[in-house]
Symmetry: C2
């Protein structure tokens, strides 16, 4: 199979229909997707919905631990999870460059399908556009998603003493992309952490009422996510460096490059801000999940601080600032 995408695959005619049938319906088949015309129609109970969107332009499109398709599902699933929602339905919009190998598109669709199964979501509506050679870089994917917000999830103001949980190791997705992009040729386990972590909602159950806010630390990493939360609620935080889990290989790379893994994207981690006094209870829930075994209470919000500070191994403190210049673009 050595066929390539042509402009005609995007004109809405016969080739578009065939592409949809042969690739997308093959992998994403479900009654809602194939049921009506250009929109999905489905029944919902009354309640709060979460709705989110993300476009994915990652380069390279295949990397250790994932690909643009897996990432496009995880990104939106994890954003819904951060809104306290069980992810239910996804849309997918492809922008494909003329000349893109159909075999690669098949691999990407297959990967999306597998990730959807793992996350318990369905792709129910989609769109495909083709642009001329040189007008895109292979393929860009947008996913949007709808989820049902847990009835006990109650996002609210962060106050002094609220505890901060991070559900795993730091900066692995961004580091994997960095190494593959520049073919640095370093040896070691540099697998992206890209993974759907929507089980967090079900494992928390009614205890989600103790969670004030969730945030998946993608672009800008854990550091930038914490700075944005701190800015929004106008309260500082203190993070314990010794509680941050960083894989030795990842740590070595960043020591070599002089970069800070805290600013590198995770794609399978969550930051939870938990009501003061309930950190350990929530931690014990979360770390029963396979994908969250390295969860830690990494620090707390604290009005003694006006910024996000990190207490180092040596006992000193330094301020974490908002990301001003990421050294690598197109990580998601």
């Amino acid at each position: 199979m050595n066929q390539r995408i042509m402009l005609r695959h995007g004109d809405g005619g016969l080739l578009t229909s065939n592409l949809i049938r042969d690739i997308f319906y093959k992998y994403f088949d479900n009654e809602i997707l194939t049921g009506y015309q250009d929109s999905a129609i489905f029944q919902m109970e009354a309640g709060r919905l979460a709705f989110t969107t993300d476009s994915f332009v990652v380069k390279p499109i295949f990397f250790t631990g994932g690909d643009i398709g897996k990432l496009a599902v995880c990104g939106t699933v994890n954003d819904l999870t951060a809104a306290g929602a069980v992810p239910l339905y996804l849309s997918v919009g492809f922008v494909i460059e003329e000349g893109f190998e159909i075999e690669k598109l098949d691999l990407i669709a297959s990967s999306m399908s597998n990730t959807c199964k793992k996350a318990g979501v369905k792709i129910v509506t989609g769109d495909t556009k083709v642009v001329e050679k040189g007008s895109a870089d292979g393929i860009y994917i947008n996913t949007s998603g709808i989820g049902k917000v847990h009835e006990f999830f109650n996002p609210r103001h962060i106050t002094s003493g609220d505890e901060i949980i991070l559900t795993g190791t730091v900066g692995e997705h961004g580091t994997a992309i960095l190494l593959e992009r520049y073919e640095l040729g370093l040896k070691g386990d540099f697998t992206s952490d890209c993974n759907p972590i929507s089980e967090i909602i079900s494992v928390l159950g009614d205890d989600i009422k103790h969670v004030k806010l969730m945030r998946d630390p993608t672009r800008g990493g854990v550091a930038n996510a914490l700075c944005e939360i701190s800015d929004s609620y106008n309260i500082g935080a203190i993070i314990e460096e010794e509680k941050l889990q960083i894989r030795p290989a990842v740590k070595s790379v960043h020591e070599l490059l002089g970069t800070d893994p805290l600013y590198f994207a995770c794609e399978g981690r969550m930051i939870l801000v938990v009501e003061k006094g309930f950190g350990t209870k929530i931690l014990n829930c979360i770390n029963t999940l396979d994908d969250c075994q390295n969860s830690q209470i990494i620090g707390k919000f604290d009005d003694l601080y006006s910024k996000v500070c990190i207490r180092t191994w040596l006992g000193g403190e330094r301020i974490l600032t908002m990301l001003e210049n990421q050294m690598i673009s197109r990580i998601c």
Copy 2:
């Protein structure tokens, strides 16, 4: 204001936050958009939802009668309308090429905001990515949308005698793009019909129960949309050429080029398939709307035919086939 988009506007850091605040929040401001983190959260009653997505890669991005922003709102609003739904909430995902003028982005966001107001929808969640110069063609926009399906809308099998309404003139969007793309320099009124037509749902009211299917004839135009419906339900149709409304200027262009306006996109029209005997009743509803004054019953589904046929002015009949090769790409 002569500033341009840099890669750093897409890295999730300080410049991304500033861009979101200075452009997107300025135009799309609403409580849901600014309320929580990366997802919108809102209350919904029980019922059927419609959910749809579309990516927009139109070239040129500004054209007579609209721009990529207006189109991105209309496309998704009209897809929701075709699902019998009142459009409520939109997401927007931007993929922007490094070097794109921020002033143009401002114009596009302003246009989206105005079109949302006209259609009664809100942009409640968004995402911005930036790719290197040469990795996109200015700007691509994805919109996804959620609407509430009218309780009396009941999509069902099409049978012989069901009537076909088209809500206006034919092929104007595709023709406008064609002329501007190739700078053909022809004089005349070549304005795109790009417009939100969601009022159709409210004006139909409970009579929507007589509508079996709706479809907005975008890529592939009226002809391709009818062929796809005919294929799906395995029934032919007969269309009366004299009932098709084509503006004189549009007709002249296509006579000159030897092309068929029936295959050119509309972006402000709807095809309604109406239960046999109710065509006139529904027509009288629809053509009370300003944007649907040229509505006509253009023909009917008929099991005497196995394909979509058109009866010409001269009384002959010809078959409309699925679009095999559109002469122009990137019309939406």
